[in-house]
Structure formats: structure tokens, C-alpha cells
């Protein structure tokens, strides 16, 4: 009697289970909804840093696509590596499923990220590549490609006879070095196309002085390529002052209001502009893929655009140059 009753209940339980599982999978087998947590750590959260704000926006767009909340962190000041490390360590303690980080080049970074990795947190490094073994997944602007684009632009501006002066910031800057590599790859196809590479140490005045000296020297050149914004502004200032604007072509990287005005006035021939939105977006997308256990390319490169005076107000490029719709008058 007892045994039989037990059997009935067992049968019923199995039946219920079976029916409901069928029920569940038939009706509700939709795309899974993420309730993952991803921490995004940027180099700066300063609202005035358009670049990082745009990265942030891209990251949030990716998160919204899967209906996920995102935790975006970062130091308020740029170049505050200590603060970023502190934030990173805090984030690791929260045990998110993935961390998307744009790390400062700091010796401590690799060790801390290794710790995160051993805690089972997926890692995606954006913007700046990092020395780490094994390499983390990287989503980054293709700076070498950007350099190549600058080289191509210089070629067409000089109508095939480029003599280029290159102003970089610092031989230790990884981004600038990559840009330089790509640039030289193009220019070295031509004999004597590069008259020299100078380093202005991220100083407008230094760039100004360097170009002033170059102009005073007896090596003529028709193009200056500046690998960072401060160099571009310093060089532009000099070119305007000495009426070289439009005669010596200036090609720069990145965009700011100042550079936009230089583009409009023709002082700046072209700017090679990154797509930080895409970087943020693809960074989070890649992290989501890692969490889902999908295959991911070890390196995702993001292309850059060449912006000139002529194309700067096309709809796409307007969005790149002016990523934010500001309400302030």
C-alpha cells in the first residue's frame, strides 16, 4: 500500500516535471537575457575628455543591446595611474564576469590583471596594448593603419613627391611609435621622403620650436606629419604665423575643436581620426562573447578615418568630429 502510493507520487512528479520542461523549452526558448556584470575601466571619466566619454557611450550602447547594466569606472584626472590601479583592484573585489580596461602603461598593471584573470574574470584590453602572458584579448585602434593612412594622405597631398618632417611626442609612447611604424612603411617606399623624426614631448612650444628650426635649416620639405594633438597645434601656430599655411601641408591625428578650426581654415590638411565609440562598443561586445564562451579574435582592430576640409561636414564625419550634442550655449 505504502509503496504503491509512493509510486503514484513519483509518477506524478515525473509527469509534472516532464510537462513543464517541455512547456518551458517550447514556449520560452528565446534568446537568453544577460544578467552579466561587466566593469569598464577607462583612463578618465572626466566629462571634458570627449574621447573617453565617447568610449563610454559606445560601451553603454553595447550593453543596452543585450539589456544589461554597465559599471563604468575610471579616474577623474587623466594620467592618474595610481587611481586607476586602485579602481581596478576594487573592481576585482566585486567579482564582475568581465573587465574591459584601457590600462595606463604601468609596471604594476600586468600583475593585477593576472590576478583578475586567475579569479576567473574575463579580460578585454582596449585602446592600449599591454604586455602580459598570455596576451589578453585586445580591442584597439589600429594605430599602424592610421599611420599608413597619414602616409597615403601625405603622398596624395604632395602629388607623389613627399618630403616629410615628422613630429612625435615621445619614443616611449606606444601609440605614437605604432603610428610612426605605419607611416614609415608607406613613406619609405620613396627615396628621401622623410627628412627626420623629432620628439616634442607633448609640448606645443617644443613642436613650435622644432619646426621653426627645421624651416631655418636648408633641408626643404613640403609636408609635416604630427603624431599627436599638441604637436599639431604647435606646428599650426607657427605655420600660420609665418604664412606657411597651405604651402606646407600639415597632417595630424585625433580631433579637437582647435584642430577642427585648423581643418576649416585649411592650415591642417587632414586629420586621422579614431573611432572611440566603436572601441567602447566592440570592447563590451567582445567581453560579452567571452562570457558566453564564444570564440573571439585575439586582436580586434578599429579603423580610422581621414578627415579633410572637404569631407568634414558629411553626416558620418560630423558624428566623429562632434560626438556630443551639447546643450550649452
Amino acid at each position: 500500500m505504502r509503496k504503491q502510493r509512493f509510486t503514484i507520487w513519483l509518477i506524478l512528479a515525473i509527469l509534472i516535471g516532464a510537462i513543464y520542461s517541455v512547456y518551458y523549452f517550447k514556449l520560452f526558448g528565446g534568446p537568453s537575457i544577460h544578467d552579466n556584470s561587466i566593469a569598464v575601466i577607462l583612463k578618465s571619466l572626466n566629462v571634458r575628455m570627449d574621447f573617453w566619454q565617447t568610449v563610454n557611450k559606445g560601451a553603454e550602447t553595447a550593453a543596452k543591446e543585450v539589456g544589461m547594466e554597465l559599471n563604468v569606472l575610471g579616474p577623474l584626472q587623466e594620467n592618474d595611474a595610481d587611481e586607476q590601479i586602485r579602481i581596478l583592484e576594487e573592481a576585482i573585489e566585486q567579482k564582475p564576469e568581465a573587465i574591459v580596461i584601457a590600462p595606463f602603461a604601468d609596471d604594476r598593471m600586468s600583475a593585477i590583471l593576472a590576478k583578475a584573470r586567475s579569479a576567473g574574470i574575463k579580460l578585454v584590453v582596449i585602446d592600449t596594448p599591454l604586455d602580459m602572458n598570455p596576451m589578453p584579448v585586445i580591442v584597439s585602434n589600429d594605430h599602424a593603419e592610421a599611420g599608413r593612412l597619414a602616409g597615403e594622405t601625405a603622398l596624395s597631398a604632395a602629388k607623389g613627391h613627399p618630403t616629410v618632417a615628422i613630429i612625435s611626442d615621445d619614443p616611449n609612447s606606444e601609440i605614437s611609435e605604432e603610428r610612426l611604424t605605419g607611416l614609415l612603411e608607406v613613406l619609405n617606399r620613396y627615396e628621401d621622403s622623410v627628412i627626420g623624426v623629432s620628439y616634442a614631448n607633448n609640448s606645443e612650444d617644443r613642436a613650435y620650436e622644432i619646426v621653426k628650426q627645421l624651416l631655418g635649416a636648408d633641408k626643404p620639405f613640403n609636408t609635416i606629419i604630427t603624431l599627436n594633438e599638441t604637436a599639431t597645434l604647435g606646428v599650426a601656430k607657427l605655420l600660420k604665423e609665418q604664412q606657411w599655411a597651405g604651402v606646407i601641408e600639415l597632417i595630424g591625428f585625433d580631433s579637437s575643436v582647435d584642430e577642427i578650426q585648423l581643418l576649416e581654415s585649411g592650415t591642417l590638411k587632414a586629420a586621422i581620426v579614431q573611432k572611440p565609440f566603436n572601441m567602447g562598443y566592440l570592447g563590451v561586445k567582445t567581453a560579452l562573447k567571452l562570457i558566453d564562451g564564444n570564440k573571439v579574435d585575439p586582436v580586434t582592430y578599429i579603423e580610422s578615418n581621414v578627415i579633410t576640409r572637404e569631407n568634414m561636414y558629411t553626416p558620418e564625419n560630423q558624428k566623429l568630429l562632434f560626438p556630443f550634442i551639447n546643450n550649452n550655449k
Binding site: M1, Q4, R5, I8, I11, L12, L15, I16, I19, Y20, Y23, Y24, L27, F28, G30, P31, I33, G58, T61, K64, E65, V66, G67, V257, I260, Q261, E264, S265, G266, K275, F277, N278, Y281, L282, E303, Y313, P315, E316, Q318, K319, L320, L321, F322, P323, I325, N326, N327, K329
Partner: protein, 596 residues
């Protein structure tokens, strides 16, 4: 032919009725609940989808109205400029305004524009450009961007070609004012001279794009849903992921949206998931599309499912419990009856099952009770009868070899032999022999009356020889009844009683006389054993009637024994009756059926 054999699975495979009932109930309930929850889920999902479709439509309409109101406002501002005399004068070619006057006109127009601007924070700037080279804005001092060529501006060109109609631009960065780069939507319009023939300038109102951006980005269509706007050339006016579309990281169904008519909706299903596009036209050529993900729309889909699941599980548990209880209640009387039957099986016939309701089971119980009580009665009767039979047989056996009788008779024989009364010895011995032969024949209980008569004759003969003159007897038996059957040793106990209790103690007052009569009466045969002895008091008589002849048991076969044997063999309507009167005598009437 084993192939032909069909294995029948019984409809109710379980052993107990309760299990079967509860299984059947449970399956029915399960089916019903699963069905209803499936249906209600589907219905709710449909309802939610419908509702959310309606909701999206409503939201888009609201957005449309909001945007429309801003555009209308720009339109109104442009009309104001159009009809303003100062503006007309200022840009007209043939007006003779001196440089000093120009400044006052500029100031007045600028003041007007500023006044408008104060009331509206959605307007970024208001400007007028005359074809005569003059321009004025809402700012006191306006410096134009030297690098932005007015004639190349899209809004300027389209306004010129639209000749008097207002034109809404796509969102763009307005760079006409020096050091200002603002995202705006421009409404531009060519201004005509008073006669309406000559074009004299272009009027521009810029709407802060942040207004439209705020309207659109604040719209929530589920977690993932969004809203976007395209103009009729397919250019994106607003899209939250415009940069992705520009970089070809994402595609949008812009052509489908452009082809869709206002108020319609369509469903797209691809790698991004199933989603519904609802499209609305604006009055000025834009299309607003709301995109909602179906799995997101029914954001409560999980919740809905879980709650339905929970409630149905809850209902299921409750109803399963009820079904078990019900089946228990239903099968309980049967079980009780079953256990009572088990008791009967074990031999307990004292059981009476309890009868609850008078339904089928109640009736069954009543029949069972009847059956049990009847069985019990019959069994008791049988046992009783058997017992009686055995007892009377034993007593009969005892009576047959009543030792006192035997000793006394043998004593008499010895005594007669001593007296050399040879004839008497022979007579008595042969009578004793016959008596015994007759009574020892055990093979049959029923004997012809003739045999019984012979038996009683022999008995009386012996007693007569013992008591000589004290005892006299008459045998008056109809010839006709001799062939009928009777139980054996029917009369002897009464004759014996009559001798020992009635006659022996009379001490010669009178001769003892025993009369034995036998005759037919209807279907019956009636014997009478009458004596003229001492008789009995009514108390003695009652004692005999009630207790039988317990006291006289030792002295021979009791009246009760005979009575019981008669009733046992012939039925209750037969038996003995005793009449007795003190000092007069006793008469015993014995009734038996006529039995061939």
C-alpha cells in the same frame, strides 16, 4: 496463436481503488491545469504584445507631436521674421538706409530675435542673411566663421531652391558662427520682397538637436528597444547607434521604414532577434520608427511565465491533495467494508459494518450485515443442533445400558431362579434380551412404531415382573399407526418416570396403572402415557418445563431429551405436553408427524 493475443492495458492499472481514483483525478487536474495555463499564457502574451504595440504607437505619436510642436514653433518664428517690417527694410536692396540707421535696424531686429530666444531655450539661433550682404542674428555682435562659406551651406542652398517655402534640414553641426559648433536642426526660408516677387535673403532658425535627442533618447521601449528618425532621403536624423551604422557594424532597416506607410508596423527577424518596427510620418518629411524587441516587450515574459508556473504548481499541489483526500473519502466505506469482510473471513461473525450514506456502498453494507447476521444465526443453530444431537445420543446410549435397571432386572432374574420359577426366568431374560437388542441397534434413529411398541412391551413386561401387583398397565395402540416411523425409545422415559416417580412411591394405596395410548389425529400421531400416581404440584411441573428434568437426570432419560429429539427430527411444532394433578396422576402427550 500468440500473435493474436492483444495485451490489454487496463484503464486503471493500480491495485487499490483509492490509488486509481487519485491517479485519475490527478491526471485530469494536471491536464486541465496545464491546458489552462498554456492557454492563459498565450492569451496574456498576445494581450501584452497587443498592448505594447499600442503603447509603442502611442509613444511614437507623442514623440511626433513633440517634434512637430518644435518645428511648428520654428515655422512661427520664421513667419514672424517674414512679416516683420524692419527685417524687410533691412535686407531689401532698394532701401536707403544709412550706415548709422543700419545699426539701429540691426539693433531692433537683434532685440526682437533675442526676445524670442529668451522665451525659447530650444532655439539655438535666429539669423537673417540678406542677398545684399547684410546679416543680423540674435547676438548683438555677430562674427561669422571666416572659413564657412555661406553659399555652400546646405540649408542656404535648399532654402534658395525652395523659393519661399520653409525647409527643414537634417541634423548637422552649425559652423556659420565663429567658434560655435552646435548640433542643430535648421529651418531656413527664402525671404521675398513686399511685392512677393524678388528674393531678398534667407532666414534661418536653428533648433538645438539636443531637444530632439532628449525626446528620443528618453523613450524607453523595453530594455533594448529604441527609436530612430530618418528623413525621406533615408538619412538618419536620429539613431542611438548611428556611429555603428556609419561604421557598418550594424545595419538598420531604413529602406523598409521609408517604404512603410504612416501608422503601420512590420516585424523583422534576423540575428539581432525578433523585433517590431512601428512607423509614423511627420508633417515635414521625417519618419519616426519605434523598434521594440518582442522578447523584451514582454519583459515580463519571464515573470509572466514564472507566475503562471508558480500559480499552477500551487493549484496543482492543492488539487492533488484534495484529490487524494477525496479518493480517500470515497474509498473509505469500501475499505471499511473490506476490513469488516476480512474479519468475517477470519471467523468473527459478531461484526456489523457501519452504514453511512444509503448509497450503493451503504446498500452493500446493509446486505453484508444481513448476510453476516443470517450466517451467524444459521451457524449458531447448526452448532446448537449438533451439540444437542450429540448430547441426546450420549444420553440415549446411557439409557440403553442404564446400569440400575440392568442390575435390578438381573437381581430379579437371580431371585426368580433361586425360587426355581424357571418360566419367569426365561420370560424375563428373553424380554431383557429383546429390549437390549432393540435399543442397541444404533444403525437407525427412526424405527417403525411397531418396533417401539415391542420395545415398550418388553420393558413393561420386565417392570411388571419386578413390581408384580403394584403395577398394572394397558397398551392401547391403533393397528393403523404401527407402520409409521418414530424416534426410538420414545415412550420408555415416560413409562420409567411414571413407575419411579408416580407409582413406586404409592405404598399400596391403590394399584398403579399406566395407560399407553397411541392413535392418529389428522396428520399427526399422538401418544399418551398416563398414570394414576402421585402427580405433581404446579411448581414441580413448571420446573420440569423450564429446566427439563435436570434433577431426574441420573435416574434415566429426561423428558427434555425426548422433546429435543422429537423437535430435532420432526420440527418445532411437535413435542410433548405434560398435564399433572396432585393425587390424581400425570398424563404426558407426545405428538409426532405421520411419517411412512
Amino acid at each position: 496463436m500468440p500473435r493474436d493475443r492483444i495485451v490489454r492495458i487496463p484503464l486503471f492499472p493500480l491495485k487499490s481503488i483509492q490509488s486509481n481514483i487519485s491517479l485519475a483525478f490527478s491526471l485530469l487536474i494536471l491536464a486541465a491545469i496545464v491546458l489552462t495555463s498554456l492557454v492563459s499564457y498565450q492569451v496574456s502574451v498576445d494581450a501584452v504584445e497587443r498592448n505594447s504595440n499600442g503603447y509603442i504607437e502611442e509613444v511614437i505619436k507623442q514623440v511626433n507631436m513633440n517634434i512637430q510642436s518644435y518645428v511648428d514653433n520654428m515655422e512661427n518664428i520664421s513667419l514672424l521674421a517674414l512679416t516683420n517690417k524692419d527685417v524687410k527694410y533691412y535686407i531689401s536692396d532698394n532701401s536707403f538706409i544709412s550706415t548709422e540707421n543700419r545699426r539701429t535696424y540691426e539693433k531692433r531686429i537683434s532685440d526682437l530675435f533675442q526676445a524670442i530666444l529668451y522665451t525659447r531655450n530650444d532655439i539655438a539661433s535666429i539669423m537673417v542673411f540678406g542677398y545684399n550682404g547684410r546679416f543680423v542674428s540674435d547676438r548683438r555682435i555677430t562674427s561669422l566663421n571666416p572659413n564657412a562659406i555661406l553659399e555652400e551651406q546646405a540649408w542656404y542652398k535648399t532654402a534658395k531652391s525652395a523659393s519661399g517655402k520653409s525647409v527643414i534640414s537634417a541634423p548637422h553641426v552649425q559652423n556659420i558662427i565663429q567658434n560655435e559648433y552646435r548640433w542643430v536642426v535648421s529651418l531656413s526660408r527664402e525671404l521675398k520682397s513686399t511685392d512677393g516677387i524678388k528674393a531678398e535673403g534667407v532666414f534661418l532658425v536653428d533648433l538645438n538637436l539636443s531637444i530632439i535627442n532628449d525626446i528620443c533618447s528618453n523613450i524607453n521601449l523595453g530594455k533594448k528597444g529604441y527609436l530612430f528618425i530618418v528623413d525621406n532621403n533615408g538619412n538618419i536624423v536620429y539613431h542611438p547607434q548611428q556611429q555603428l551604422i556609419d561604421s557598418k557594424l550594424r545595419t538598420e532597416r531604413i529602406s523598409d521604414v521609408i517604404q512603410a506607410s504612416s501608422g503601420s508596423s512590420f516585424v523583422a527577424k534576423d540575428g539581432d532577434g525578433k523585433r517590431i518596427y512601428s512607423v509614423q510620418d511627420t508633417n515635414f518629411g521625417w519618419k519616426i520608427a519605434g523598434v521594440a524587441y518582442t522578447d523584451d516587450l514582454i519583459a515580463s515574459k519571464d515573470e509572466l511565465r514564472n507566475s503562471i508556473l508558480l500559480y499552477s504548481l500551487f493549484g496543482l499541489t492543492i488539487s492533488l491533495l484534495i484529490s487524494v483526500w477525496l479518493s480517500h473519502r470515497l474509498s473509505k466505506p469500501i475499505k471499511d467494508l473490506q476490513s469488516d469482510m476480512k474479519q468475517v473471513e477470519k471467523g468473527n461473525f459478531d461484526i456489523q459494518t457501519e452504514i453511512g450514506q444509503m448509497n450503493e456502498i451503504g446498500q452493500l453494507g446493509r446486505s453484508f450485515n444481513l448476510m453476516v447476521s443470517r450466517t451467524k444465526f444459521l451457524m449458531e443453530e447448526t452448532i446448537h443442533n449438533q451439540e444437542n444431537k450429540r448430547k441426546s445420543e450420549l444420553l440415549l446410549l446411557q439409557s440403553q445400558i442404564n446400569p440400575h435397571f440392568l442390575y435390578n432386572t438381573l437381581d430379579s432374574i437371580v431371585w426368580m431362579a433361586e425360587q426355581k420359577q424357571h418360566e419367569e426366568v426365561v420370560l424375563m431374560t428373553s424380554a431383557l434380551a429383546k429390549l437390549f437388542r432393540a435399543s442397541i441397534t444404533k444403525d437407525q434413529e427412526l424405527v417403525p412404531i411397531r418396533v417401539e411398541l415391542e420395545h415398550i412391551t418388553n420393558y413393561l413386561l420386565i417392570q411388571k415382573m419386578r413390581y408384580t401387583d403394584e403395577l398394572d398397565y394397558v397398551l392401547d395402540i391403533d393397528e393403523s399407526i404401527l407402520g409409521y416411523k418414530t424416534v426410538k425409545i420414545l415412550l420408555q422415559p415416560f413409562v420409567e418416570n411414571a413407575i419411579y416417580h408416580g407409582i413406586r412411591n404409592m405404598y399400596g394405596i391403590e394399584d398403579g396403572r399406566i395407560t399407553i395410548r397411541g392413535r392418529e389425529s389428522n396428520d399427526q400421531i399422538v401418544f399418551e402415557v398416563e398414570d394414576n400416581g402421585l402427580g405433581m404440584t404446579p411448581e414441580q411441573l413448571d420446573k420440569i418445563r423450564i429446566n427439563g428434568d435436570e434433577n431426574s437426570r441420573n435416574q434415566g432419560i429426561g423428558i427434555r431429551n425426548v422433546n429435543e429429539r422429537i423437535k430435532l427430527y420432526f420440527g418445532h411444532e411437535y413435542g410433548i405436553q405434560i398435564r399433572s394433578e396432585i393425587e390424581v396422576g400425570t398424563c404426558v402427550t407426545i405428538t409426532i408427524p405421520k411419517l411412512e
